[in-house]
Symmetry: C2
């Protein structure tokens, strides 16, 4: 009975409606838990102004993406407005095998696919304190028209119906509190008996 490091990393899947403040919460989380690997998605769409390859997305050609599909290298992928978006299984497996926790920021449909392939992953949904507040945040962002905001709010309500499929629900009232709850969830998951069997092998 000797205490060892956890053998395998954990896959953490984070979903939440557009405008809920996920990116800010993730930035706060990663600043406190720099040992977590944030999985950057692959896409065939062109980089927008200010977007960097390997940071916002891994920008690849359609041919490269289809080679990844053919090689079964993707955990999940989808085609949206003529472009592919997907998550590399290979990169994630490598990190997990090294004992590194991996964080995925993924919408509910992608999360559903991950759940089928990796039911042992930890699924966290980030919710706004209210739809009124979500509407305020989308307006404050000042990037979308009224029509697009109305679409996003409808989509947010649909996404919230998937909450029962998730393990944890975090309300993004303040970024600090939300990040604190996610950090606590990751600590707790690391303490689960099923993730610490290596500690009791000698008993």
């Amino acid at each position: 009975m000797n205490v060892q490091k956890k053998k395998r990393g954990e896959l953490i899947v984070l979903s939440g409606p557009s405008g809920v403040g996920k990116s800010t919460v993730i930035a706060e989380l990663l600043s406190e838990r720099s040992d977590i690997h944030f999985s950057v998605s692959f896409t065939t769409r062109s980089p927008r102004v200010g977007e960097a390859d390997g940071v916002n997305y891994n920008f690849v050609t359609r041919e490269e993406f289809e080679r990844m599909i053919a090689g079964d290298e993707l955990l999940e992928y989808a085609e949206y407005v003529g472009n592919y978006y997907g998550t590399s299984l290979k990169v994630i497996q490598e990190k997990l095998d090294k004992g590194i926790d991996v964080l995925l920021d993924i919408e509910v449909q992608g999360a559903a696919k991950v759940r089928q392939k990796c039911p042992e992953a930890v699924f966290i949904f980030i919710m706004p304190p209210s739809f009124e507040e979500l509407s305020r945040r989308l307006h404050r962002r000042n990037t979308d028209s009224e029509e697009v905001i109305a679409d996003r709010l409808t989509k947010a309500q649909q996404e919230c119906r998937q909450i029962p499929q998730y393990d944890y629900l975090v309300v993004n009232d303040t970024v600090t509190a939300a990040a604190h709850e996610i950090i606590a969830i990751l600590t707790a998951e690391g303490c689960r008996v099923k993730n610490r069997t290596h500690l009791i092998e000698g008993v």
Copy 2:
């Protein structure tokens, strides 16, 4: 979709071998989470030096304890090294109904009984970093003979075999780290979707 307080308190069951340092961890935990009600067990054993009635245990006679058994007043009870130990069901229910989390410090047999009656409770096992360290801690306590210590170590090994029945495993390497992990577990449990259904009722 409005954020409300959790409706019902959670029952937290903490087990661990004698000498693991549970009392110290619990004291640290309660100093940080004073909202938790620590359920004081009833016992027929004699108080040790420094132990106070109603604080460490409710010390009762064998006759009083057997009256509680007959009156079905106990969530669980067990006889251990010649003495009764038990938990009052009534006090716990009152607290949980008020939305207060209740912490039970209970050995593995008692925990197994609570698991049957309250499967929704959170079960945490506290383990020493090694049996050598547990032996050192039991000697340092300076309350038991070599024979009693040997018995406790044998019993500890038997208890550790029940770890797979628990939800979480915390290694008491340092008191601060162990208390921190338990606090994280309680925060995470509060974030579980099943404990936050009241937040999504309106969606």
